[in-house]
Subunit: 343 residues, 2 copies
DNA sequence: TCAGCACTTGTAAACGTTTCCAAACCGCCG
DNA sequence: CGGCGGTTTGGAAACGTTTACAAGTGCTGA
């Protein structure tokens, strides 16, 4: 039954015409009406569908673009993914998502294996980078766009954002609502987001605050956030924080749990901010005040860069920067003050 | 610089040996040590990496498996994805995730286009099915495993679960804690999960309850859940529900928001249950009582079926069923009664 | 010494498609 | 009626790889 699929050659024989004509009839250029009908009939009878590998080999195109992310469970990527799909699908590209794992090495390997013919382009958002990864990207035979870190010096197209500045905005907001003992909950410092957000928090410390304290989570996940926040809050009540800046929404949610475990309220006792403005943060209760890094916009920009590069791989690398924007919601400002739904 | 990639032929010339030997040296079987060294050196100098399309065409294998889901934003898929990856990666497969869109037609088109050579196998979790989709799956030239609906009658391998029974468990649990006016918040009835969960709720209605009421959301999302729950709860206070069974976790979260908008508490005034036992439900506050449908287990089972079929496509279709299990958390039982963290 | 064997290498075909090029055909105008 | 432009068709090459098969090498054991 499933035996073996029909090939173009078989369709040609069945239709009694040449291979070339068959291809033209199905692909659609320069074939007579009669020919098209005849070939399509034969194709239908045989249940023919074009073989992608044969076609790709000949055309040197796969019509596939990969979006590679460190952790497919992080909701920040779903907005990006949707945006990328929206831009690329109308151009005839299929978008596939891949998990890179969180090390630079695993990412480099993925870049290498992917760019060797499975996709026409690659949009990658690496958590960690090293020289090997950069080299792999530079020598990739297909266009690669990096989301997350400016790469202009390396001749790599990238879409970056000012997450350091975003942390600054969060701190300023907390000052603005009267918080003074502001703690920082960051993810691993050897990651791209971890290091830049750290820079942002350090720069924001300009002495008005009574104290700053911070803790590094093992990971950008809720679980790691919960654990790190417990440590951060366990430093004794006399020095209790009244605000907490988390390096992303998942950490923030973990932090909120930790605050509540102590019988404290959010935002009453401790105000909490996140970053990335993810859907989970928007629907969480309290809805999360979060620094948007424009996931949708970044995804869109990356997809557009990709299209340009696909057109001409040798054009100079381009950089796009998307500014941060604070979304104030219930986790820093009491419910009544903020519009319903937290949108 | 990027000009054009090196081919195996060029490596062969550079190494001064035949094409066949080059291939063997790099692939690794039946080549002398000297030959391997020589070829690898040449390959390194040229920055060679094997071209996937050429290789796939010849070998008739791509070492790729696709996992196609309706909505990549639904967290129920991330557990499955992880499990699939865990089973398939050690076997040398790359797993790619694709969005099918939520119609049966778009899913059918994806199945067709994918199975025509880009992947060695396909695991698909369709939201809606129709005859066209089923036909497309049956005639696919690569193994296809369906997650979500038993397909034994159609000769299609599938991994199913008893979500109807799961709804029953949720209702029984709510009875058990004294709730009597239990409402049902379902997703679209023309979807596979929507219809079976409806069946489950209808079957669970055995007269002890004072009243059952229900509402259909447009979609299995938080937003749609919020809107539908508002309608459901707006029927006037004299007939206020004291419990709400939602057809998945996202709807449940929307429902909790709706309940709170009315100034009511969860679980005090209205107990809420979800389904799928997603991470977002586990970290939500209150943590969500949810019917686990064994996402991880189902993903694993699907991946294993896929491997078997990849071995021999003509073997008979198999079915696996994974039973539901209720996870009781804070959204139905006050916090103190349930262990901390909701795990 | 030579048949036999194991091991290594090379030649060539094949995978399924698209597309360049040339040939064939048709109708029309001079 | 012959030539010519335009349209349609077919032959054949090419994309980059793996692998069946044959051929070559060197070694062992009779």
């Amino acid at each position: 039954m499933t035996s073996t699929r029909a090939t173009l050659m078989q369709v040609a024989e069945r239709a009694g015409v040449s291979l070339a004509s068959t291809s033209r009839a199905l692909h659609g250029s320069g074939a007579s009406k009669a020919m098209v009908e005849r070939v399509e009939a034969a194709a239908a009878e045989l249940g023919y569908s074009v073989d992608a590998t044969g076609r790709s080999l000949r055309m040197k195109r796969t019509f596939q673009v990969a979006f590679a992310v460190a952790d497919i469970g992080n909701p920040v990527y779903v907005d990006m993914m949707r945006a990328i799909h929206e831009v690329l699908a109308p151009q005839g590209y299929r978008v596939v998502v891949m998990s890179t794992g969180d090390t630079a090495t695993s990412t480099a390997e993925l870049v290498r294996s992917l760019s060797s013919g499975f996709v026409d382009g690659l949009i990658v958002s690496p958590l960690r980078t090293d020289d090997r990864l950069i080299a792999e990207i530079q020598r990739a035979p297909v266009p690669v766009v990096v989301i997350g870190r400016a790469m202009d010096d390396r001749g790599i197209s990238s879409v970056s954002t000012d997450s350091a500045g975003g942390i600054g905005e969060a701190v300023r907001h907390l000052y603005g609502i009267g918080r003074r003992r502001i703690g920082f909950l960051n993810g691993p410092l050897d990651t791209t987001p971890g290091s830049s957000r750290q820079r942002g928090f350090d720069a924001a410390d300009h002495g008005e605050a009574e104290r700053f304290d911070q803790e590094i989570a093992d990971d950008f996940t809720v679980k790691a956030g919960l654990e790190a926040a417990r440590r951060l809050l366990a430093r004794g009540p006399e020095q209790q924080l009244d605000a907490l800046v988390a390096a992303n929404d998942l950490l923030a949610i973990g932090a909120i749990r930790a605050v509540r475990e102590l019988g404290l309220s959010v935002p009453g006792d401790v105000a909490v901010t996140g970053m990335d403005d993810t859907e989970i943060g928007r629907v969480f209760q309290p809805s999360l005040t979060s620094v948007s890094l424009g996931s949708t916009e970044r995804g869109r920009a990356a997809a557009r860069l990709m299209l340009q590069l696909a057109d001409d791989l040798d054009q100079p690398a381009q950089q796009v920067n998307v500014g941060p924007a604070l979304r104030v919601r219930e986790s820093t400002v009491p419910e009544s003050t903020v519009e319903r739904g937290g949108e």
